[in-house]
Symmetry: C2
Subunit: 217 residues, 2 copies
DNA sequence: AAAGCTACCAAGCAAGTGCTTGGTAAGCAA
DNA sequence: TTGCTTACCAAGCACTTGCTTGGTAGCTTT
């Protein structure tokens, strides 16, 4: 076996000012599932496990154990295992978009807005805001094409923000779609090598470095 | 189920002038396993399947069926399933290094050498030269840390070539290690969106675009 | 010819997998 | 009180998984 790590991990909730009320608002608006409901708790547990061990190596028994129920009881809340993955991805997508939109809005200049996008996605990837964001890329192939379409539709707005920020920062004649894709890969891959630590680089510093590579000066 | 595609796929051998003799030389030198031996044929089949469906979703029965033997017979050649993955990664690493070294050597200027690195890795990622290269990243977590170390040691020279090419092209005060990591992520992610086609962009054009983003002018 | 090696088969085991079934207890509404 | 809904349990089914075992045919070496 691989991907060690077992035993219950304390649920890491998004921390930071306002994230709680932001979630509540989204729940009230029906855009997000209440994380305190049985479904919500299962989705959070699934997100963490899929993130740690991967979808295929996570069993429904693992997920059930995380919230303290038996495996069969999961299928009272979800039709099958893949529906859990699909729901996780949809939740993550919605929340990531709202969060990034806020960060971009708070930025002053075009360059600052691009930096906000980069930092926002870095935070998501490294689990500081949205547990399970990396699943969107890492486990994309585990989703049936039908469910992929659903998530892709939800993702359109997210990508629109990115394209706008890139075009504004790098000029209209730059290929925003291409740069976004290169950036997405570069940022996602930090998941595999970057470890935020007290001594080393912070996520903010990393965001600056990335910004300087993709948009020099 | 997901990741459709079944049925035997014709073995796609690396094509291109000299690749055959290059392989033969590496086999003779004991650096590569003969692709016509039972072990070699199993490794090639495994590489394709791991690439298509992922390691966890590929069964030893799948691999065995690809080469026309029964599943149990696999364990005459490999101790366990993970050893197959480890061997595939080692084979891929060795071959990718030799290939890239050749491409870099043939290039004239520092900028051309960086382009050669980019194109070489793009070709590897998209299966034009080395079936299974993407496994190195996509299935990294499926490897035990002990086997990870083995592959990492083999990979050192490969990364050294990259760092040299980046430093030469972008100046010694650039952070070659960081840029390499961003590039690796950006290039690997093309696996998810770039489809070389007659109408659209070629890999060569893509390499040029990437070069211009990471090393403008 | 004898001995050993390589490459496989045939059969199956033990563990784990997603998911189903029938039932129960608690809360709430009529 | 009655009936409905939500959230779960207990048990297990049907299937898949990696891997094991004992054996055999053919080739090569001595």
């Amino acid at each position: 076996m691989v991907v060690q790590s077992k035993g219950r991990v304390a649920a890491r909730r998004p921390s930071g000012a306002g994230s709680q009320t932001l979630i509540s608002a989204l729940v009230a608006a029906g855009e997000l599932i209440d994380p305190d409901s049985p479904r919500g708790r299962l989705l959070n547990a699934a997100a963490r496990l899929f993130d740690q061990k991967g979808y295929a190596r996570t069993t429904v028994r693992d997920i059930a154990a995380e919230v303290g129920i038996l495996s069969g009881s999961i299928f009272h809340h979800f039709g099958n295992k893949e529906e859990i993955l699909s729901c996780v991805m949809q939740q993550v997508t919605v929340y990531a978009r709202v969060r990034m939109a806020q960060a971009v809005e708070a930025a002053a200049s075009p360059r600052e807005r691009l930096r906000a996008c980069i930092l926002s996605e870095l935070e998501a990837i490294h689990g500081l805001a949205i547990p399970g964001f990396s699943i969107l890329v890492l486990e994309w192939r585990s989703l049936s094409s039908q469910n992929q379409k659903k998530v892709l539709r939800l993702r359109e707005d997210y990508e629109r923000i990115w394209h706008g920020a890139i075009a504004a920062a790098k000029g209209p004649k730059s290929d925003a779609a291409l740069i976004r894709r290169l950036l997405q890969g570069a940022l996602m891959h930090t998941y595999n090598w970057f470890k935020p630590s007290a001594k080393g680089m912070s996520l903010q510093q990393l965001a600056d470095e990335v910004l300087n590579v993709f948009s020099p000066q």
